[in-house]
């Protein structure tokens, strides 16, 4: 069943269209920056973006930061929201279940397919952004990876602790100013890709749960997105600090910590943990609802 779901995923035009869109956004941004040479000043704008003019090889990180807030969660919510509701409204759900495909098995296969989609999207963005960075923005002009890393784009005071000036410190090497070898950089990019993929699983689980409640794929996707927007608002609201550690988007930016030297693990671990909790809770809710539901669609 997992193979069938993956096959359905890759045979759908929507899959490639949305991944293409996600890759296109960083490309457009890169073209603008390359033409105007106007990167956001350190400490402002999207993470890493201030540094990419100096080192195109950092562009994958900047690109991920660009698609993370909206594009990626929207695409994941649409795919996950469609998972059960889409089959139900198309009428194929009853035929799958009468095959028979176990209802639990179907849910798990759907989650795996959504995970695969997220991974494909993140990987595609990373790879195209690397090419974009090297070809359009040019390779490292100031200090390349592994050099001293004291280029002009590093904000003063960004050395040492990963506290203030988070984006500002997005420099050629590590955020902390210490040099990274190429191997370390690759490892950290892979870590960031994995973390971002996992960060999307919470959304995916919420969307899949909503997808078992309704026959409207759009409704399920929008419901999951509404949850995310609410979470984003609460994350920045000081009055909501009590619930902030448990919000699904609280640790979304923790992948930046992969680019510190040494890697700052605390938030990364918490990010993984909170997503795991969301996946377990909402998948269980989805299962409890779906396994006992009358299929009348």
């Amino acid at each position: 069943m997992i193979a069938v779901e993956l096959l359905k995923l890759v045979r759908r035009v929507r899959t490639w269209f949305s991944i293409g869109l996600m890759c296109a956004l960083p490309l457009v941004v890169a073209i603008f920056i390359a033409v105007t040479h106007l990167a956001p000043p350190p400490g402002q704008g999207s993470a890493f973006l201030s540094a990419v003019l100096d080192d195109g090889q950092l562009y994958p990180a900047a690109a991920l930061a660009l698609v993370l807030p909206v594009f990626l969660p929207v695409a994941v919510a649409v795919v996950a929201g469609d998972s059960i509701a889409g089959e139900a409204s198309a009428g194929t759900l009853r035929y799958l279940l009468a095959r028979p495909v176990g209802r639990t098995r179907l849910l798990v296969a759907k989650l795996i397919a959504v995970t695969a989609f997220t991974l494909m999207a993140v990987a595609a963005v990373t790879v195209t952004a690397y090419a974009t960075g090297v070809l359009i923005l040019g390779p490292s002009r100031a200090a390349a990876v592994g050099s001293s890393g004291l280029s002009g784009s590093i904000a003063p005071g960004a050395n040492g602790l990963p506290t203030a000036g988070l984006q500002a410190g997005a420099a050629i090497t590590s955020l902390s100013g210490a040099p990274l070898t190429l191997l370390e950089l690759v490892e950290r990019v892979l870590g960031a890709v994995a973390f971002i993929t996992v960060s999307m699983l919470g959304v995916a689980a919420i969307a899949i749960f909503l997808s078992t409640l309704t026959d409207s794929a759009l409704g399920a996707a929008l419901g999951a997105l509404a949850t995310l927007v609410a979470s984003e608002i609460l994350v920045t609201l000081n009055a909501a600090s009590v619930v902030q550690p448990y919000l699904p988007t609280r640790y979304w930016l923790a992948w930046i910590d992969f680019f510190r030297q040494p890697i700052f693990w605390r938030d990364i671990q918490r990010g993984f943990a909170i997503q795991a909790v969301y996946v377990v809770v909402f998948l269980a809710a989805a299962w409890a609802n779906f396994a006992t539901r009358d299929i009348t669609s």
Binding site: M1, A3, V4, L7, K8, R11, R12, V13, A90, G91, T92, R94, Y95, L96, L97, A98, R99, P100, V101, G102, T292, D294, I295, T296
Partner: protein
Amino acid sequence: MITTRNLTKRFGNVEAVREVNLDVREGDRYGLLGPNGSGKSTLVRMLLGLVYATSGEISVLGHRVPKQVSRVLPEIGALIEEPAAYPHLSGRANLRLLDAAGPQGKRRTRRRRVDDALEQVGLAGIDRRPVRAYSLGMRQRLGLAAALVRRPRLLILDEPTNGLDPRGIRDIRDLLVGLNADGVTVFLSSHLLPEVSALCTRIGVLDSGRLVLQDQLASLQQPTGRVLISTDDPERAVATLDGLVEHRDGADLVVRSPDPAELNARLVRAGVPVHSLAVQRRSLEEIVLDVTGAGSDQFGVPAAEPGGTVKASPPPSADGTPPNQADAVLPGPDAAPLAREDPEIS
């Protein structure tokens, strides 16, 4: 093959299926009749484990449903209301995908089984177009192919001839009769009486969720004890069959006699030219109308069915004198005295 005991399904306050005791036997071509909204689809879905019963028991192929439904379903081919497919994929790709889902669809034989199923429903050769471009009839055939691809022992088909033209209907009927002859039990639901009449050996009638009738079609359609005669010389025929003629409508006579051969001999001896002579049987329409309530007024209305798939209703008689119904199979008012008959001698 399928038995249910006091099967009941309630949706909120609505009892969609009430105390149904279905009995489908191996080798049957069973037709479940009932107007739209009578509970046919809910019943079918319960048999397949898609809808859970409120109370009662279901046994399919000797296994309890829904508890052991995963052991039953691989041997069942199902068409559940309309067919459904992924519109952007071809018919063949849809069948392959559906077959790969769930257990039992052996990969080694998949290509051959898919080919066979497409061949059986007459879609071979045009199966590479995306389903989006299929006509309603082609989608229906594809749905049937999907039901056949696992070579099931039992077919559960909801409205299998929906959307097909007259030729398609006959193709599918022939296909189902052929499969049945090879040992496949066919259970289908329909609201098209002529379809069921032409195809099924056994019928059940649902009315407002209740199974109001279930029997062999042949025993329901036993001769009524009357013979329908059409002649050029009705005057002489009436005189010859002294006292047996119950009803006369122009050149058509309804004669009470259990023995058509004897009637024929008498008419021939008297030199009466006989155009046709047939044993009167109750039509399926009469049988069904007798047992269904007033709520089923749209039952089998030909005009409601697109595609010209329904035979015309029999014309009502001129003066409407109903024949004696002492030996009618079922109690109830007799709807049409000159109903359709199966001509046996002509």
